[in-house]
Amino acid sequence: MSDAILAHPDGLLQQRIWQRHTTAQRLVRFAIWLVIALAIVQSLRTIEVIPEFLYDAPEQMGDMLQRMWPIDWPYYAVGVHAALVETMHIATLGTLLAIVLGIPFGLLVAGNLTRNKALNFIARVVLVSSRSVNSLVWALLFVAVFGPGAVAGTLAIAFRSIGFVGKLVGEAIEEMPRGPIEALQAAGASKASEIRYGYWPQLKPAFWSIVLLRWDINVRESAVLGIVGAGGIGMALDTSLNLFQWGRVAVVLIAIFAIVIVIEVVVTQVRRRVL
């Protein structure tokens, strides 16, 4: 069909070939693909990989599993259980602290609630910087400030989550229908009761789902914070690794695996029942 049109001697028909994208769009797409290809080629050419290590990998993996094999179950009661509980404390307290600290910024960043461009901008900067710093880096900073231990871990989790909670709460507020809020304004409600009776009931489902999602992520993240000395099960992992006690490493990994699955099941159930 298109061949027939192309072959048609009449030039007018040729102009009616349909194209999905304009020339500019096609150029931009082509440029992006080109940049991606260049980045891949450049990375492949310059990355430092020792081929012998790669050939060796399956053997080394087998060796690692073999060393892990008599899994050191008794170690769970001695060194893992308390650390696991501490990890849960870090994740939960960190999430709660992030809610307390993050919601004010979420309220400030929402353009329809806070009608002040400067305040919006400041809140946005705070939220972006909180999100840009990885929780491990936050942990390093807080270990330097508060010393090693779970306090540093909790604050790291909290500071990383402020950006997440604040951003999502802000977006949820901006997407809200205005009706109930305008009704409250028309009745002469104060800002506080506007938030309490207008915004909060509409925000509630989104809020709980954000909190659950972040709690789930935080449990996973707090499991590694111990590697930099910020408490929790990561510390048990780090110690066992440094001492090459692979049987203990296996116990710790299984414990982390188990807690992640348990949390995921709990979150799914709560989401199904409550939301």
Partner: protein
């Protein structure tokens, strides 16, 4: 009389029910218990603020003398992020397709989904530890760890996206007698491709963040110099590295948004 009934109406509409009150109370008790358990105390907080002030003072001025170390680490992080994203995207495309329960037989979709769930279960840094043992220190371990993380994320979301597609277009293609590969190519992929690009750019962004971290356990990238600078108390260099990382992440996020906008049109 009239005013009391209207007051009652307001209070019942927004009354906090008993369960919520009990839950809030329990949460409050838990916070106090857990805070005491992990050793959170006021004195520690105050002395920490002192430390913090000293810490910030030692960060300034940023150390600009070790730019070669910084550049080497950053470029290695970027390489890890790019390669891990590409490999992760390429692997999760077929794996996600296999995990879609509406297209594939049950045994295949459950195998694929279990594989994806295993990839998602451990944090990238823990994966990196295991890969450092398997393939030695360096960028390869970090790349492999992030490939696994990418499969876990994109694979799951892609499989879920395919399960949500409209059956009508698939049936239309099937009605023409198309073989299965064409069914996927013309019936399924056009419906999910824009979402796939969205997941991929998100994962590129996330890999960029994590590639700066896997170095802490020796898996290559800027994380190694960052961690050793921390251990040497070389806080002015730490500051330089952190600012560079944040700049790269912000630029990466802007680029990812731009790419998404170009391809969603």
């Amino acid at each position: 009389m009239l005013s009391t009934t209207s007051a009652q109406r307001v209070s019942t509409a927004f009354r906090v029910d008993l369960w919520t009150r009990v839950l809030v109370l329990l949460l409050f008790v838990y916070v106090i218990y857990a805070a005491s358990q992990i050793g959170f105390s006021w004195e520690r907080f105050v002395s920490g603020l002192d430390n913090g002030a000293r810490f910030l003072k030692r960060m300034f001025p940023p150390d600009l003398s070790k730019m070669d170390i910084l550049w080497k680490g950053i470029s290695e992080s970027l390489q890890i992020a790019v390669l891990a994203s590409v490999a992760g995207i390429l692997i999760s495309l077929p794996l996600g397709l296999m995990g879609a329960r509406n297209l594939m037989p049950a045994w295949l979709s459950w195998t694929a989904r279990t594989l994806i769930a295993i990839c998602r279960s451990l944090h990238p840094v823990i994966m990196a530890i295991l890969f450092v043992k398997a393939v030695g220190f360096g960028a390869l371990a970090g790349t492999l760890a992030l490939v696994v993380a990418s499969i876990g994320f994109i694979g799951k979301l892609f499989a879920d996206a395919i399960e949500e597609i409209s059956e009508k277009q698939v049936e239309a293609i099937r009605a023409t007698g198309a073989p299965f590969p064409n069914l996927v190519l013309f019936g399924v992929l056009p419906q999910v491709l824009s979402r796939f690009i969205g997941f991929s750019t998100y994962q590129l962004d996330s890999n960029l963040r994590n590639s700066t971290m896997v170095g802490i356990v020796g898996a290559g990238g800027i994380g190694g110099p960052l961690f050793s600078a921390f251990q040497r108390f070389d806080y002015s260099f730490v500051f330089t590295i952190l600012v560079t990382i944040i700049m790269i992440i912000v630029v990466g996020e802007l680029l990812a948004n731009y790419v998404k906008k170009v391809f969603y049109v």
